[in-house]
């Protein structure tokens, strides 16, 4: 077993960090009496974007838990949970994927009573509203629709709060278009600009069918062609209409490229191949950190939001379950939340994160105020100079303008077919 060989290496590092208990356990492995002090290891399945080595290091320091990251792509997470539920102890995945995962019965409800901050989780997840009570858009797979299970091993969601939570939220954000203000040179205010002939050959779209079509729907709606009952759950006719608009644009050469990988979107934008495209927040930061102007442009039609959280595989029990809860409680305790907020994401328990951030950081990231001092990323690189205001403003402004959430549609099968047609067109 490879696991038995690992503690030696980790132990050496632990000694350096002064985690004496773990060191002792490693040194005398094999004695039944110290079984309870076996190395604390959690296999953490998720996307690489969320798997920060800084978080793993801090967890180790604070709790002695060693996080073994299993990094895969967004779609691969779902595939792994369904096909190899024994290959991880905790999974970090997006809420929209739950509509595939939960009916498969491979996920175990998280016990709310064992989550210290369960009642402090932002109401965006539990009620679909901001902390100030304002309701936000719930088209698509809004987290509140898939937040509770009827029972721990239930395969159906509960509309009413129960003690069984599908995923304990970790991180969420509101996505919009990224633009190159220096190359566009005029204000951009609407999603419809993505298909504006002015940007012919300089626009890009992301090539993930379930998310790409929602961006497309925001464009179609902004152009005034159709108003969807639910952009996250279209009828076949609506899918046809949306793909027709996009196919026409593609045939007329509107798009420079489609991207699938975060880094591709950074390259497209930084090289100037593309001046307007669907983008993710850290990609905008990556372009800016190269010294290239890039705005995560707030648009009047609103944002498409997403959210991720921790779930447990069906087989999780005993000591591993204890470790998983210990880790999740640590995660919600503030340090990780502050870390995520400083990257431009949002954390699930706002008050604990606030306690671990400097007041000027909180004011910039969460309150939409001009930065009092230079804003640094968690790894210490300069993100913004003093005086800058965050794109989209405060937490309430950004999350309050969310109109739809990443989703899996009832007609997903049809959508995938249509998307392949779109690519082939």
């Amino acid at each position: 077993m490879p696991k038995t060989t690992r503690p030696a290496g980790l132990t050496r590092r632990s000694v350096v960090k002064g985690a004496g208990a773990a060191a002792t356990a490693g040194a005398i492995t094999g004695f039944p009496a110290v079984h309870a002090q076996e190395p604390k290891v959690l296999r953490y399945l998720g996307t690489a974007v969320n798997q920060s080595s800084a978080i793993a290091k801090k967890v180790k320091e604070d709790t002695g838990i060693t996080i073994e990251y299993v990094p895969v792509t967004t779609d691969e997470v779902t595939k792994r949970v369904i096909t190899q539920p024994n290959s991880f102890d905790i999974v970090d995945e997006e809420y929209f994927q739950l509509r595939k995962v939960v009916p498969s019965g491979n996920l175990l409800g998280m016990d709310a009573r064992r989550i210290k901050y369960a009642d402090k989780i932002t109401p965006i997840f539990t009620k679909g509203e901001l902390p100030n009570g304002k309701k936000i858009g719930d088209q698509g797979t809004a987290p509140k629709k898939v937040f509770y299970l009827e029972g721990q091993t239930s395969k159906t969601f509960s509309a009413q709060p129960t003690e069984w939570i599908t995923l304990i939220p970790t991180v969420y954000n509101a996505d919009t278009l990224g633009i190159r203000p220096d190359l566009i040179g005029r204000p951009i205010e609407s999603w419809k600009e993505l298909l504006n002939p002015e940007f012919k050959g300089k626009a890009a779209l992301l090539n993930i069918p379930s998310i790409g079509i929602m961006d497309a729907a925001l464009v179609v709606e902004a152009m005034g062609l159709h108003t969807y009952a639910d952009k996250g759950n279209m009828t076949k006719a609506e899918i046809d209409l949306t793909m027709k608009v996009m196919t026409d644009a593609k045939k007329s050469g509107q798009f420079r490229a489609f991207w699938q990988d975060f880094n591709e979107s950074v390259n497209l934008m930084a090289s100037g191949e593309v001046v307007i495209q669907s983008m993710w927040s850290p990609a905008v930061t990556a372009v800016r950190s190269k010294g290239i102007a890039c705005t995560y442009q707030p648009l009047k039609e609103g944002y498409r939001a997403w959210a991720a959280g921790f779930g447990a595989p069906r087989t999780l029990s005993g000591r591993k379950a204890d470790l998983a809860y210990e880790f999740i409680n640590w995660f919600l305790d503030g340090w990780a939340g502050a870390f995520l907020n400083r990257q431009g994401y949002y954390s699930a328990v706002l008050e604990t994160a606030k306690s671990k951030m400097e007041p000027y950081e909180w004011a910039y990231w969460m309150e939409g105020k001009p930065a009092e001092k230079d804003i640094m990323s968690p790894d210490g690189t300069l993100l913004e100079k003093a005086g800058v205001v965050r794109d989209g403003g405060s937490y309430e402004q950004r999350m309050g303008s969310v109109v739809c959430w990443n989703s899996v549609m009832d007609e997903n099968d049809y959508l995938v077919k249509k998307w392949n047609e779109f690519i082939a067109a």
Partner: protein, 328 residues
Amino acid sequence: MTEQISLRDTVVPAPSPRLGEGARRASDDASGSRRSGATPAEAPAWLQIAPFAAIFVLFFLVPLGLTVMVSFWDYNEYQILPAFTVRSYVEIFEGCFVKLPELCVTFKTYLSTLKFCLSVWLITLVIGFFIAYFLAFYVRSTAVQVALFLICTIPFWTSNIIRTISWIPLLGRNGLINSTLVRIGAIHQPIEWLIYSDFSVIMSLVHLYTLFMIVPIFNSMMRIDRALVEAAYDGGASGWQTLWNVIIPLSKPGIVIGSIFVVTIVMGDFVTVGVMGGQQIASVGKVINTQMTALQFPPAAANSVILLIAVLFVIWGLTRMVDIRKEL
């Protein structure tokens, strides 16, 4: 299809007449338990092929069988349902025949893939043949040959992703080529089709896979008896006549093997087509990939089976042109 079966039959190596002492003892043990009526002399040969055969069965035939099986299963959002259905195949070819001459997605995708296949095959064949020719007939020293071969492998020193992404600074709108051309006044507007176009896909594939053409052709050429070239020269053949009537016929096995490599790789490629085509160009591999990520395993399997049949047809055609077994 009969041609295929006969091909496979003869590919199985003839039993080796040589017997080691250990092998003979093992063969005695083995032959006792076998009912197939094989003579003891054949047993060592079976043992010799056993390890590879086991790997072949375990990691090729079994997965292939499973793929074929799953392609006939049903599925829903999160699982595959083991019930026989031809749903996946029907859906792949939905509207393909009634809508003709307008092409359906499947035909369009295959046409696009075949187009790349043909162009890349032709270009790599011409380039690969002449590089191999140069290496085999003009470079005399083995050391220089090896050195030049290593140079040919340079494209493989980095990962596929890095290799393809690195084209942007060269071919992009603000890339090296465009900015140079604009600076020297050859063009006024950057050329858009240098990247994210059919051109860039073909160029990138040629860049990557010419080596697969060079190696087998070079190998064939090195086996050509130089006396034959001299004889042609003595017989009064011109350089081109020698090339056409002596070198090319004798290089055919290499050409066919190289062609098989290139054709099979290009037919299945979706990473290069995706990155260099800006994900805007369809390929069969990409369709399969999209279906896999959407957890639609049965249609993905059905597409794989169809792709496999298409590739086998091409290879069958190639082997019709040259009898590889005879030539090797």
